[in-house]
Symmetry: C2
Subunit: 379 residues, 2 copies
C-alpha cells in the first residue's frame, strides 16, 4: 500500500445519527425506526458548487469501506479500492466520493444487532423488516447532512444497483446520473428460492435460538456459513468455477473414501463460509436478503415503464455476460423501460466469465466505461 | 388406480441377500461389505431365452418401487409408473422389468442406517464409502441371482444414468443396450459444490451428532430439509420456476414484513423439505452424494474415448434442454466418445422446460423414443 501512489490512503469510517425520538423515520412496513446511525466514508473534496458528489452503494455483504486502508499496517483495502483514487474511475482528484452503509446491516449502521435504546438490549428479531426503499430514505438524510442537494452520480452493483434504481426513481431531482450494475428491478424466483434456503439454513442452526442468540452468548455460525457457501456458488459462473477448480482434488491424488475435504472447490467454499462468519451477523443476513427479495419496481408502479416515467438522470446500465443471478436480460428490462420513456441511457454487457461477482473485480472495460461516463456527466 | 388397465397393479418389493461372511464384497475403497441386501422389484415375465430383461436404475432419492402400488388403497404409484406397464414404453407384456435399489441407500438395501451384524448397531459413519461402481457390482449379483446373463437394456436418469454408463463400460457383455438419460460421465464442479453445501447443512444440524443420531434417538431433520430444498432448486429450471411460481405471494396480496412464508416458491420448497425428511435418511444423503461426486470415467480411464472402447451395447443418450445440472453438453460428451469408437449411438435433446427433473415427468417425445428404441433392440 505505501507504494500505491493512487490510493486514497488512510481512511476512517464516519457515523451520522438522526431520527432521534420523537422524529423516528417511518418505514415501508408502517413501523418507525430511530435513532438511526449510518456508517459512511468519504474520499476527495466536495467542490464549492457541491456538484461533484458520487454516492457508491454496496451489495449484500458490503460496507462503507469502499477504498483505502484503516492504517499503514492494514493488510486489506476497501472492497472497490481499484475503482476509487487519484486517476481511477471514481477519481478523487475530481469527485467527492461517499459510500454509505445500509440500515439493517451489521457494519456500523443501525441493524438487528444494534442496541434498542428502549430496552438496552439488541433488537434481534424485534428489529423492523426494512426495504431497499427504507435504506435509500435513510441515505437521503445523510446526503442532506453533507449539504448536497443533487448527487452527480449514484452507482452500485447487485443490491447496490437496486438502491441506485430506487434513488433515481424516488428522488429524481437529486440524481444527475445513475449507474446500476449487475442488478434487476425485481429478483427472479430462483434468486428468492436460494435466499430462502439460506435463511432456512440459519433458522436450522440450534444456536440461532429464534433470533435471540446474542442474549445467549452464542452465534449460529454453522448455519450462516452454509448460507454463505450456497450464495457464493450463485455469485460465480460454472465456467469460472471450472477454470478455477475443475474436479481438482486438494493436496491428494486419490480419493480418500471419507467425508473430509477432498475437492478444491470444497476447500474454497469452506474458506468462504469461515471468513464470512467472522465478519457478518446472521440476523442481518435474514433482514438484508428479505429486503432484496421484496424489491420490485413492477409491484410498486404497475409497470416498469411507469416506474421510470419521472426519472431525471442520465443512465448507464452495466451487466456481465456470465451473471446468472442478475442476468443481462434483467438488466435489459431496465434499459427498455428507460428507452420507452425516452430517457438517456447507455447499456453495456461486459464479456466476463466471473459471474455475478464480476462487478467487484478489476476489468479494464468496466473501468474505462465508468470513467468516461462520469467525465461526460461532470462536463 | 383400479381403473388403470395398463398399470402393473399391485406390486411387492423383494429382497436379495448375498456376500455373507466370509465372502464379503470388495469395494473400490479397499474395504469389504457384507452381508449385502438389495431391495428390488420386478414386473412382467422373463422369457425362456432370458433375453427380455430390462434393468431400471434410480436417481439419488429414488428406490426400487418404480411402478404399481403396494395395495389397492395406496395413494401413490411408483416413481416412473407412467413408463412401466402394458403398452407403455417399458412394456410389461413384452419385457421383464427389474428395478434395483442401490447399496448405501435407505430404501431397503444395505446402507449406513442398516444394522451392522458385527456390532448389532447401525453402521452410521462406520459404513464404508461406496461408489457408483460398487452399486453396480452389487447389482450384478442380483442379476446373476435372477438367472440373467445379458440384460436387454439398462436405463436410468441422473445417478441412474451414471449406473447405466458403469454397467455398459464395466460389464460390456452383459448389456445389449443402454439408455443413459440426463446424466454425465463426471459431475461438474458446480454440482460438486451444491452437494458439498448440502452435506454441510446436514453436518451443521446439532441433531446430526457426527453421524451417530440413530443411537441418540434423534434425526437431523432441519439440516436434511435444507439439503433437499437446495437440491430441488437445481432440479428445476429458472423458466419452470418462473412459470410455476413467479414472484407470486402465498395467500396474501401484500408483503407481511416478517419472516413467515411469503412467496409461493418458499412454500413449495418447505413442502419439498418436509416431505423428504419423512422418507429419507441424512447419512444416506451424505453417502449417495459422495458416490455421485466420485463418479468420473475420465479419472478411471484417462480419456472418455478409452472408457468406451470395449462397450458392446447399442446406446440411446437422452438429455433435456433446460437441465443445467446435467447439461446437454455433458450428455454429448458421451455421444462423442461413443462415435469416436464407432459404437452405435443415437442422441436426442428433448425440448423440455422442466430442468433436470424432466426425465421423471410424462413426455410424449421421451416415451415414444424409448418405446421405439426398445422395440428395435428386442427385434
Amino acid at each position: 500500500m505505501p507504494d500505491d501512489p493512487y490510493s486514497v490512503c488512510i481512511v476512517e469510517t464516519q457515523y451520522f445519527t438522526f431520527a432521534e425520538s420523537p422524529n423516528e423515520m417511518p418505514l415501508e412496513s408502517g413501523e418507525k425506526l430511530g435513532p438511526i446511525t449510518l456508517a459512511y466514508e468519504t474520499y476527495g473534496t466536495l467542490n464549492n458548487q457541491k456538484n461533484n458528489a458520487i454516492l457508491i452503494l454496496h451489495a449484500l455483504s458490503g460496507d462503507a469501506h469502499v477504498a483505502g486502508r484503516y492504517s499503514a499496517e492494514d493488510p486489506k483495502p476497501g472492497w472497490w479500492d481499484f475503482m476509487v483514487g487519484a486517476g481511477r474511475p471514481f477519481d478523487t482528484d475530481k469527485y467527492f466520493i461517499i459510500c454509505s452503509n445500509v440500515i439493517g446491516g451489521c457494519k456500523g449502521s443501525t441493524g438487528p444487532a444494534s442496541i434498542n435504546p428502549k430496552t438496552k438490549k439488541p433488537y434481534n428479531l424485534s428489529f423492523p423488516v426494512i426495504t431497499i426503499g427504507d435504506m435509500v430514505r435513510a441515505q437521503t438524510h445523510l446526503i442532506d447532512h453533507l449539504g448536497i442537494d443533487r448527487l452527480m452520480c449514484v452507482v452500485g452493483g447487485s443490491m447496490g444497483g437496486m438502491q441506485t434504481l430506487e434513488w433515481a426513481v424516488e428522488y429524481p431531482d437529486r440524481v444527475a446520473a445513475a449507474i446500476p450494475m449487475a442488478t434487476t428491478c425485481r429478483l427472479g424466483v430462483q434468486g428468492i428460492a436460494f435466499d430462502e434456503v439460506a435463511r432456512q439454513a440459519i433458522y436450522a442452526d440450534a444456536n440461532w435460538k429464534k433470533g435471540d442468540y446474542l442474549n445467549h452468548g452464542v452465534v449460529p455460525a454453522q448455519g450462516l456459513a452454509v448460507a454463505r457457501m450456497l450464495a457464493h456458488i450463485t455469485y460465480l459462473s460454472e465456467a469460472a468455477m471450472h477454470q478455477k477448480f475443475g474436479r481438482q482434488l486438494r493436496e491428494k491424488e486419490h480419493y480418500g473414501y471419507d467425508f473430509s475435504t477432498e475437492f478444491e472447490v470444497e476447500s474454497y467454499l469452506h474458506h468462504q463460509g469461515e471468513s464470512f462468519i467472522r465478519r457478518f451477523d446472521a440476523n442481518t443476513y435474514l433482514y438484508i436478503t428479505k429486503a432484496i427479495n421484496y424489491f420490485d419496481l413492477y409491484r410498486d408502479y404497475g409497470t416498469l415503464e411507469k416506474a421510470f416515467r419521472n426519472v431525471n438522470s442520465k443512465f448507464m446500465v452495466v451487466s456481465f455476460a456470465s451473471d446468472w443471478l442478475y442476468t443481462t436480460a434483467q438488466n435489459k428490462e431496465i434499459v427498455k423501460a428507460l428507452k420507452i420513456n425516452r430517457k438517456p441511457v447507455t447499456f453495456c454487457e461486459i464479456p466476463s466469465q466471473a459471474g455475478h461477482d464480476a462487478f467487484l473485480l478489476p476489468n479494464p472495460d468496466m473501468e474505462k466505461m465508468i470513467a468516461d461516463f462520469l467525465a461526460h456527466v461532470y462536463d
